[in-house]
Symmetry: C2
Subunit: 316 residues, 2 copies
Amino acid sequence: MNLIWLLLRASWLNVAIAVLTGLISGGCSAQLIALINSAVSGTTNNLLWYFVGLGLIIFFTTIISQFFLIELAQDAIYSLRLRLSQAILSSPLRHLEELGANRLMATLTEDAQTLSGAVFILPTICIDIAIILGCLVYLSWLSAAVFIVTIVFLALAIASIQFLLNKARDSLSLAREEEDRLFKHFRTITDGIKELKLHSQRRQQFLSEELQVSAAASRQHNITALRTYAIGDGWSQMLFFTIVCFLLLGLPRLVSVASSVLSAYILTIAYLLTPFRNIILRLPQFFRASVSLQKIEKMRLALASQHEETETFSPS
Amino acid sequence: MNLIWLLLRASWLNVAIAVLTGLISGGCSAQLIALINSAVSGTTNNLLWYFVGLGLIIFFTTIISQFFLIELAQDAIYSLRLRLSQAILSSPLRHLEELGANRLMATLTEDAQTLSGAVFILPTICIDIAIILGCLVYLSWLSAAVFIVTIVFLALAIASIQFLLNKARDSLSLAREEEDRLFKHFRTITDGIKELKLHSQRRQQFLSEELQVSAAASRQHNITALRTYAIGDGWSQMLFFTIVCFLLLGLPRLVSVASSVLSAYILTIAYLLTPFRNIILRLPQFFRASVSLQKIEKMRLALASQHEETETFSPS
């Protein structure tokens, strides 16, 4: 994904530290779930210090990982905005007029904002991926047979949810395009107000035939996207209950599984639900962000192609 | 919260249907968790049809609830944008100049966008609250003693996390104010480009003394907010493990609790973690949205106070 590349380019060292501490945090979470499972089945004693130790490690590694990513992401947005501003200021006037003030403004504000919203959630996504990986390792250690069933099921789940998300993404792209048009109309209001004030008929026409049409179309595309998305959300909940149902009722008829393993499995999968759902719920924001990033890149290329003068200005 | 009021005003019936179906979905989720617990302890047989039935009810009520809220929220944004546009068009020119084109533009685009992002997540939050309520009822039924411990713990958890979130909210407000200023600078670029082009010194000064300063300040406030927020996230993870640790290791020394009740409790709390964390993670977006909504309201009041002419235009 482009967003990851943006951060890697800013500082691969910070990304590496964040990923490493994130992985430690996720691994310890899985370890703690394993500990809870063995405490539930009453197999071990004197677990208090294990609990405290793992809890503290999770707390600090989570924070460290997020701090690094937060700093990095905010820096990336900051220098992106400055570089774009500088590129606009050093482009020929004629070229800027061709690009249009509304497109420039939309890129500087809305696209940068969308991007900033996505980098906001990136840190938690990384921790979530780490937790999922850690728990999967633990599940494979618990029982190979159940692990294979879970993995096959997970692959089917991801494929079907991905299909829904792709459809949602298409609608979101359409909504975004329509919002560009809406943005242009808003600009007509704030800039062309004098002209609109003079002509009452033109004003009515503008409201009902241009602005309202764009606003309605953008609403419709957003509704379609969010609906597809809601179906995906309900579907993923269903899938969780289906796999638990299969493990509890179906599997014991096929192979013999110890009841303690089964309950450990179900607790782990229930715990996995949090990061799994979190990632699925937040993916649309990434899609929006990658659309925005593409728009920003396109704008920068368009500006660079007509670079007029180079100035000594470094955003740092 | 203002956002809820915005939706209630749009259609209390739709909100009522969404809340009702959401509650059914949440209640069934709790029921299904209870079913899983009794299946794990092997107390009941022939559960397949219960599983299938509850799963289907959850799937459809989740979707219905979200569909209603999605439609409502998108309609609210749509008519908000149209009403604002119309209010601007029917305000006296002199008054609009006092308000400033950049503030008008920021309200029409960025604030409306932030609001739209928040209503995007509102449906899932409602389902999450319903799941939490349902699970709490189930927990109280399982064991009154453990329930009281959980509730006291939950209250402490919410209070401490709320404290962190309030601090994060303050920083986010500062960041938002700074971004208004940044917006103004972007507008200077797109609109005042001709003047900036003519004066190389003025251009350098603008970049390094105005735009860069605002961008840096907004980055700093965002970093502070997100860091506080990451601490809250790590803290809430710690709290989950603390309560599980207490239930497993501490409680059995104080009162006698059946091991099957304890494992049912832990599975339920692990399942609760998903909606609980989801709500906590998404609260900042609501804070942003309520700031934006206040700005929009202020703008609308400012426009209404100087209403010049009333036009026959109804956004529907």
